[in-house]
């Protein structure tokens, strides 16, 4: 062993950077075991030969690649059914996590809690809620939205947008004086859908919301327009 590159035992004390690099390599090679794979341990045993912070980091970085390579080879040598099972388990876990994330932030399914949207949504009907894209596309008249109130989650239909003047005449809703065509109302039950309201102009960043079942719905007729920040979702479709 005459190579001049072979180190002398007494090196400069390890800097914090070198200690961190060493700890990272140990963690990658051994994980929670006492001893990692042979090749990972081989890279680790050479760490003390490196000099300076930069070389230590480069050695560690390469060591991570080597340890990854060794791990892949070890997995590859496992029996086929073990590999397939492992792959299936990891796919399942990823799918569940991704599914939970989607359900939490993008799309979810809710059940209609009240009769205020009859006959569009009956009590117990399930529907798909979009939690994000309405913030990009914006809300339009006729959209069915969910809003949070201090006590509950409610489902209503958008009737008036900012700047619209909402009034009622003869049981019908007028937007800027023009009667609104509302084909979604249960026309067989005119007294259930008879609408009465006080005239109001919708302020900026607010929405005028009504439930389709006018006789029972608690909505903007009583509590006025709703701030758009209270809207948490838009119904995409009713599920069978």
């Amino acid at each position: 062993m005459t190579s001049p590159l072979i180190s002398t035992p007494h090196r400069a004390t390890n800097s914090p950077t070198r200690r961190i690099a060493h700890a990272v390599l140990v963690a990658a090679v051994r994980g929670r075991r006492d001893r990692g794979g042979d090749w990972g341990e081989a890279v680790l045993a050479e760490f003390a030969e490196t000099t300076g912070n930069l070389e230590a980091i480069r050695w560690t970085w390469g060591g991570l690649r080597a340890a990854w390579h060794e791990r892949r080879r070890r997995i590859h040598q496992l029996p086929r059914h073990v590999r397939i099972t492992r792959r299936a388990v990891s796919v399942l876990i990823i799918a569940v996590v991704a599914g939970l994330a989607v359900n939490q932030w993008l799309l979810t399914v809710h059940t209609m809690p009240s009769g205020s949207m009859e006959n569009t949504l009956l009590i117990g009907d399930r529907y798909l809620v979009d939690k994000v894209s309405f913030r990009i596309t914006g809300l339009h008249r006729d959209d069915i939205v969910e809003l949070t109130t201090p006590t509950s989650l409610r489902v209503k239909r958008v009737i008036g947008l900012p700047g619209d003047t909402i009034s009622c005449a003869g049981g019908r809703v007028l937007v800027d004086g023009t009667p609104l065509d509302e084909p979604y109302l249960a026309s067989d039950y005119p007294d259930e859908t008879y609408t009465d309201c006080t005239t109001v102009t919708v302020p900026p960043n607010q929405l005028y919301l009504l439930g389709d079942h006018r006789i029972v719905s608690q909505d903007s007729r009583q509590s006025g327009p709703v701030n758009e920040n209270a809207i948490v979702g838009r119904m995409l479709l009713k599920l069978p």
């Binding site: 062993m1 190579s3 590159l5 072979i6 035992p9 042979d38 090749w39 341990e41 081989a42 890279v43 680790l44 045993a45 050479e46 003390a48 030969e49 490196t50 480069r58 050695w59 970085w61 390469g62 060591g63 991570l64 690649r65 080597a66 390579h69 060794e70 080879r73």
Partner: protein, 107 residues
Amino acid sequence: MPRIPHTSPQTLQLFEALLDDPQRWRYGYDLSRETALASGTLYPILMRLTDQRLLETAWEPSDEPGRPPRHIYRLTAEGATLARQRLAARKTSGASIAQTRPAGGLA
């Protein structure tokens, strides 16, 4: 077209370093310095050569207390033969190994 094994520039660099003194046991760190290969490139090649019994490995106990044993390497007889063939093939082809591959022949 199947690739001829052990013809990458990195592997040839390693062969050159190992053939420098084929009988001597070598440390990974020293090989990395001599070949200018990063550990992440060098060790996978060492793994592959060892798997194919072209390289033999051993653990050398450290004479320094508290230091782990070091992994050491040298070419087997078979490995040394193959390494010489590959390096000769590179020389005869005149330039890069990439040119020898389409010819499909070994040295």
